[in-house]
């Protein structure tokens, strides 16, 4: 994502503009520094979900998938999780996030 510098008079770069970037499995694998088969395995395990596409044979992935893949890479490198451990830790992290949100904003 290139910074949007159209905001004047400040020269500060502006980030956060919405992008619809979608990556093929080979591109996202290269960006996340893993191989395509691993991306496919993570997709089958439900760790990442491809964005909707009309052609089901060629799944496309968004920025959030890339962030998750890098996060998974970090967990693997630092904690040495296998897929079962990874699934458990990702579920727990998600649950912690929900509980923290409930604690901050109240249960609904």
């Amino acid at each position: 994502m290139k910074p949007d510098t159209s905001e004047k008079p400040s020269n500060f770069p502006v980030y956060g503009k919405e992008t619809d970037t979608a990556y093929t499995i080979d591109v996202i694998a290269e960006l996340a520094d893993i191989d395509s088969k691993t991306v496919l395995r993570y997709q089958e395990s439900g760790f990442i979900r491809p964005v909707h596409t009309s052609n089901k044979a060629a799944p496309l992935f968004d920025e959030e998938c890339l962030r998750k893949l890098r996060h998974i890479g970090h967990l693997r490198a630092t904690c040495g999780f296998n897929d079962t451990g990874l699934k458990l830790i990702l579920e727990l992290l998600h649950e912690v996030e929900i509980l923290r949100q409930e604690q901050r904003l109240g249960p609904r």
């Binding site: 400040s10 500060f12 956060g16 919405e18 962030r67 970090h74 949100q101 901050r104 904003l105």
Partner: protein, 322 residues
């Protein structure tokens, strides 16, 4: 990095032994005065509101409050010697310091909810090229900013521990309309520096909705607790309710229950799909009258005499039946 201690109890004007309810009341009272969405003088109220909100973030959460109470006595001795996962904003080589996120240095250091998680690869082999870790921080926004979107100035100071050099980067972050609590905004290339000539990681700012005296949020839905009288719950009423974009008139149906939700479609935060919005929920809170006048008491007694309220009578009958 030096950090000033914040006396959150003094900020909210409550006693150190104050109950959760007292803290909630004190926050609501002050938030009505200084909340940027409600205050007339937005420039002067902004800093005050941030301080109030930060104090509320810590004191309303029992775990953070306990930690804060423990810190209170010797907070400066623990500085620089992080003992908990919230301190992970410091990577082995670099230390990050933010300004413009809506939280003070003190809060960022001790209470930042998500911490600055590092994603990415760890680099242990010096001969290889690695991308820097991603880092994560919180950015506090008001519900008004979440409604309309906003442009926020953020300053990121990075201290390289190996060289001792400090680098400051200023940038702006566009908060999109409908930014929900928990959503991440990516600032590319502002994470940890790459290794062996590799690219820098990204910075992810996680949106946190500032507490509002009248509303709470969940995803794109907004919730408002409405106090109603017992007779309004029984007989029904037409009431005026504030929303984020103006007041609305709505009907409370007869025989409404305490805690019942009334939904107003499409009056919540904008959704990603253009033109679509979340819902606005009114949660009915039946309030009992306090300090009855003699006239009111007589009316309640009259109601008691003529009431056909059967529930407890039936319960009693059941409990006495052998």
């Amino acid at each position: 990095m030096t950090t000033d201690f914040k006396d959150y109890y003094a900020t909210l004007g409550v006693d150190r032994n104050a109950s959760a309810e007292e803290i909630k009341k004190a926050f609501r009272k002050l938030a009505r005065l200084y909340h940027p969405d409600l205050s007339k003088d937005k420039s002067s109220s902004d800093a005050k509101f941030k301080a109030i909100n930060e104090a509320n973030e810590v004191l309303r959460d029992p775990v953070k409050r306990k930690k804060y109470d423990q810190l209170g006595a010797n907070w400066d001795q623990t500085q620089g010697a992080p003992q908990n996962p919230y301190h992970s904003q410091e990577t082995p080589e670099q230390e990050f310091h933010f300004d413009g996120t809506g939280f003070s240095d003190f809060f960022e250091q001790y209470f930042s909810s998500g911490g600055f998680n590092q994603h990415g690869q760890t680099h242990t082999r010096a001969s290889q090229v690695y991308r820097g870790n991603d880092i994560e921080g919180d950015i506090l926004i008001t519900l008004d900013e979440a409604m309309t979107g906003a442009l926020r100035s953020v300053s990121l100071q990075t201290l390289n521990r190996q060289t001792g050099q400090t680098k400051t980067r200023n940038f702006k972050v566009r908060i999109p309309p409908g930014a929900t609590d928990g959503r991440r905004i990516r600032v590319p290339g502002h994470g940890e520096q790459g290794f062996g000539g590799g690219p820098s990681g990204d910075l992810f700012l996680r949106v946190r909705h500032a507490a509002h005296p009248d509303f709470t949020s969940l995803n794109t839905d907004i919730f408002h607790e409405l106090d109603i009288a017992p007779w309004e719950a029984v007989l029904g009423a037409t009431v005026t309710v504030p929303t984020l974009d103006g007041s609305i008139r709505m009907r409370v149906p007869p025989n409404s229950e305490n805690g019942q939700r009334l939904r107003v479609r499409g009056r919540g935060l904008p959704k990603e799909k253009k033109g679509s919005r979340g819902d606005f929920f009114v949660i009915l809170q039946v309030q009992l009258p306090q300090n009855l006048s003699s006239n009111e008491r007589a009316l309640w007694e009259q109601l008691r005499e003529g009431s056909s309220f059967p529930r407890r009578q039936k319960q009693n009958e059941r409990s006495t039946t052998p």
